[in-house]
């Protein structure tokens, strides 16, 4: 008894622009890897069986449910979580829109909604009602009754269109800035 050998695998993923590697049991979910190993607790777990969408993150820009994906399946891919969105204290337009339009109450579902909306607006900056419903239909919110969430995503879409940039484009720009060599070697 007590001699349970559990194998380990190496997981190598880029998370929010940073390369991460870890030795994990193969059964560890992507959500647990992000939350427990990396401390990225903004990704929430509402059901752990793929229905509620609270755990939504982006994998190479596509929305996935991190609760029903294993960490090892993300090897070699790029993961983006809610933590990547705000830039030095400045909220991402999607985040700002949720604040402005009261698109959240308890906020537990919100990171998932924002990540799902980010994928949608990246691919479709001016989504039809149908496209919006299709994306948001996969996310559950128990507090808001959705009306304000729809308004929030619409508002963000409009602001992003005005700025002529997609939600992930904005992110990539911010990440690049952070990744740029520090110090005073910027050289004019």
């Amino acid at each position: 008894m007590g001699e349970r050998k559990i194998s380990r695998v190496t997981v190598e993923v880029t998370v929010n622009g940073r390369r991460q590697s870890a030795e994990l049991e193969p059964r560890v979910t992507l959500a647990d890897f992000l939350r427990v190993e990396l401390g990225l607790t903004g990704t929430h777990l509402g059901c752990e069986h793929g229905v509620c969408g609270a755990c939504t993150v982006l994998l190479d820009g596509r929305a996935v449910r991190s609760c029903i994906m294993l960490a090892v399946q993300a090897t070699g891919h790029e993961v983006t979580t809610i933590e990547a969105l705000a830039n030095e204290g400045e909220l991402h337009p999607l985040q700002q829109a949720f604040v402005d339009k009261h698109g959240l109450q308890c906020g537990f579902c919100t990171p998932g909604f924002i990540m799902a909306a980010a994928e949608l607006l990246e691919r479709d900056p001016d989504p039809s009602e149908q496209a919006l419903l299709e994306t948001l239909g996969g996310q559950v919110c128990r507090c808001t009754g959705y009306e304000a969430i729809i308004e929030s995503v619409r508002d963000a879409a409009e602001k992003l269109r005005q700025r002529g940039v997609g939600p992930l484009g904005l992110l990539a720009a911010a990440l690049e800035k952070k990744a740029a060599p520090s110090g005073n070697g910027g050289g004019e």
Partner: protein, 803 residues
């Protein structure tokens, strides 16, 4: 110390109200939208272990043996506990009604599928769950009590042998001359109804991290507690600890709606921590656990409702008979939901004779918990649907029969038959505003022509009361007899003139911290951003209860204003010394302490506070030099319940009138909501944006209740709804867009005239949708009397009755 709490905005010490009543941006939001909020599952403590719970697979069984030896020896496992440990070290849960509680782990027998049997603490949740697989429990099956009717059978198995019956409570309450109202009625209308189990399902389940320090016997519980003080007191009783050795630290939580629960989880983690020499133990309930046996099951009811009417549609008597299936124990206070209808028993109507024939029984289902609305939503449904039936029989329009029975606007405060007092309201105005907004005449014409074409299109028009600001006395009939619920806030000014409010509840989404900041910002003429809200644990905060029973918005407004006023008086005394005048000559206005007769002689409150903090040596000795004050608010004028359960209980009575247009698809039994209009009146709206948010959230849950959500059990009380694939929550597709209008009839009894509004539309939406469905079915002579009106149920109704 008593304080003067402004009843209206005009009484605040500012020349212009800048924040209260406005849709102020929520302080809570930046942290939430960036994923930074400390939900309980984020908490990691040094040496923390993880709990997993083995649960009963039988609905009713004797425990013959438990072999957990292999689990105990597993590497990474630090503690394994069973019902024996619970029976040795703890008391059974305190319950209402009393005496129907169990230990946190099943001892000797199990009463429902999913009841905790054995708990393990290991270095990870993965390992703890592995260990559960090594535990062998031998059961001896007992006969199962699968539903309320079965519980009443003469030969029913007993859940609690010592009671000799499964009846937890059986009593008839009579208010007024009920028999004579029915004897003298021109018409008696009656129907039977069934409301099936459903429940809260907040997006975050319950979680806790508990450590029981062996050195000082101090129990520290972190968790997503809806009411930390209440939870802490209950733990001290169950675990046999003095109340001041139980420290509850509440974390922001991802929704609650009354159904967060977690009593057993905390007790189990406490025992595991004790067994593991005081290491902290974390348990995060997963969704399958929540659906199986969490605090998410409420209202499992069979109703008979009778109305006595005069020919003109006046209702003279009301009889409600309720049989409610409480499940295996009374540990989760679900019985409160059967008592709360007393707070608004007759709805918006002036019915002075009423009777409540109440039976609560134990069965082998999960114990009932509270859920948003706490019981009135099914009560409102059966009352409103029977009103429609009466209207049909009398040939009256649903709007007209309601209008004829309203409590008139000039009759407030009004005491209803079941004893509660409604503070204010104008129901007819709400009805008229709604009919006007929705163009009711046109809708009726449209409905008539659709029905003439054979379409199943219907309108539902209902009105309800939302009792606000609960008091325990509302639940006296199920054994919770006390009166008064405190909420305290400390307001302090620091040396830089910034304001901090300290209080004892954590966030669960309704924007309460923002509300406190709004109130204090207007009182001291600063901005909400100048106010910090600091949460304090149960042993540090002023007396508190927290959210529940639509009370917190009103309660914290009272507490914040009360504390601000006390602080103002302190500041005025000091300012009087500094300005060399009498303390009664000084007043606060627009942030300045000024001499009444000489308004140009003034000091900003920050200056006065600064003097108190830095130069107390200059102040007379009898002045307390701390620029801070605490006020504990509780609803005024509450009365203990009489022998018929009558009390002034809930302080406020908000009202709402909803109109829904639905169409039933005869081929599939699905219901489409084609239009939704509402007018509501919850007095002064302190933050209209958050009030609207509560309304919309309540509508969504009401849609779920009416059409989707149901915990299904089979005939051996095995649950069949074990995931979100079976238990259906409303999505963006099902929740309608709503046209809304607000009326404002301020409460004469509350700070600033606000009324409780947190449960909102949950009181009204299920009834409105059911009435609309029944209007749609009425040409076929059919009636839907079971909730949820799921596609399967409606399809059966349509097809089994088709000729």
């Amino acid at each position: 110390m008593s304080s003067r709490i402004p009843n209206s905005l005009e009484e605040l010490p500012v020349s212009e109200i800048r924040w209260i009543g406005k849709g102020v941006e929520r302080l809570e939001d930046p942290s939430l939208v960036t994923g930074r909020t400390e939900f309980i599952d984020n908490v990691v403590l040094p040496g923390m272990l993880h709990c997993a719970i083995l649960r009963s697979t039988y609905a009713h069984a004797r425990i013959v043996s438990i072999d957990s030896s292999a689990a105990e020896e597993m590497e990474g496992v630090y503690a394994v506990i069973t019902g024996r440990d619970a029976a040795r070290l703890t008391n059974p849960a305190t319950t209402a009604p009393e005496g129907w509680g169990a230990y946190c782990l099943a001892h000797e027998k199990t009463r429902f599928v999913g009841e905790p049997m054995v708990a393990v603490a290991a270095t990870s949740r993965y390992l703890a769950e592995d260990a559960l697989e090594l535990i062998i429990v031998e059961y001896e099956e007992l006969p199962v009590v699968a539903n309320a009717q079965a519980a009443l059978a003469a030969d029913a198995a007993l859940l609690f042998e010592e009671h000799g019956s499964n009846v937890m409570l059986q009593r008839k309450f009579t208010w007024g001359e009920v028999d004579s109202a029915f004897d003298q009625a021109d018409l008696v209308v009656s129907d039977d109804y069934r409301w099936n189990r459903l429940g809260a399902n907040p997006m975050e389940t319950f979680g806790c991290v508990v450590d029981w320090n062996p050195a000082d016997d101090m129990l520290t519980c972190r968790g997503s507690f809806q009411s930390q003080s209440y939870m802490g007191l209950a733990r001290s009783l169950v675990l046999g600890l003095p109340s001041n050795q139980v420290r509850m630290i509440s974390h922001p939580h991802g929704g609650s709606f009354g159904g967060k629960g977690g009593f057993r989880g905390v007790d189990i983690c406490a025992l595991l921590s004790k067994a593991a020499s005081g290491r902290p133990v974390k348990w995060i309930e997963d969704r399958l656990e929540y659906l199986l046996a969490g605090a998410g099951q409420s209202w499992d009811r069979e109703y008979t409702l009778q109305l006595a009417l005069k020919k003109d549609g006046t209702v003279t008597g009301l009889r409600v008979k309720l049989l409610d299936d409480m499940g295996g124990t009374a540990e989760a206070f679900g019985a409160v939901s059967a008592a709360k209808p007393l707070a608004a028993f007759t709805g918006c109507y002036a019915i002075q004779a009423a009777e409540y024939d109440l039976t609560l029984v134990a069965t082998n289902k999960v114990p009932q918990s509270p859920y948003r609305g706490m019981g009135p939503p099914p009560h409102n449904w059966v009352l409103e649907q029977t009103m429609d039936k009466a209207a049909r029989e009398l040939g009256l329009d649903p709007a007209e029969i309601r209008r004829r029975n309203y409590i008139p606007a000039d009759a407030f405060p009004y005491t209803i038959a079941s004893g509660n007092e409604y503070d204010s309201g104008n129901y007819e105005a709400a009805l008229d505003a709604l009919l006007d907004m929705a163009d009711y005449q046109k809708l009726c014409a449209e409905r008539d022509s659709a029905q003439a074409e054979g379409r199943l299109l219907g309108l539902g028009l209902v009105n309800t009361i939302e009792p606000g600001v609960f008091d325990w006395n509302a639940y006296a009939i199920v054994g919770l007899e006390s009166t008064g619920v405190p909420e305290g806030i400390t307001v302090a000014i620091d040396v830089m003139g910034r304001i901090t409010a300290r209080l004892g509840f954590s966030l669960e989404g309704q924007g309460q911290y923002t509300l406190v900041a709004q109130v204090l910002a207007d009182y001291f003429a600063v901005t909400p951003a100048d106010v910090s809200i600091v949460y304090q644990d149960s042993l540090s905060a002023p007396p508190h209860f927290g959210p529940g029973g639509s009370r917190l918005g009103v309660a914290i407004t009272g507490a914040a204003l009360g504390a601000a006023h006390l602080l103002e008086r302190k500041l005025a005394r000091v300012a009087a010394v500094l300005l060399q005048c009498g303390p009664d000559d000084v007043e606060l206005m627009d942030g300045f302490l000024r001499v009444r007769a000489m308004p140009e002689a003034k000091m900003h409150f920050a200056e006065v506070a600064g003097a108190m903090l830095a130069r107390s040596d200059l102040l007379p000795e009898d002045i307390d030099p701390q620029p801070q004050a605490t006020y504990v608010w509780t609803a005024p004028g509450r009365t203990p319940a009489d022998e018929q359960g009558r009390a002034k209980s809930y302080l406020t009575a908000a009202n709402a009138c909803h109109l829904v247009k639905v169409e039933v698809d005869p081929d599939t039994g699905t219901v489409d909501i084609l239009g939704y209009w509402l007018v509501d009146d919850c007095g002064t709206r302190l933050n209209p944006v958050t009030v609207e948010g509560q309304t919309m959230g309540g509508i969504a849950q009401g849609v779920g209740a009416a059409l989707l959500e149901e915990y299904v059990y089979d005939e051996s009380a095995q649950p069949l709804t074990s995931s979100f694939m079976d238990y259906l929550l409303p999505s963006v597709y099902e929740v309608p867009r709503v046209e809304k209008k607000a009326l404002t009839t301020p409460s004469p009894f509350t700070p600033l005239g606000a009324k409780g509004c947190g449960e909102g539309a949950m009181h009204t939406t299920p009834a409105a949708i059911m009435c609309a469905i029944n209007d749609a079915l009425s040409p076929l002579g059919l009636s839907a009397r079971e909730v949820p009106a799921s596609p399967r149920r409606l399809w059966k109704l349509l097809h089994e009755n088709a000729d």
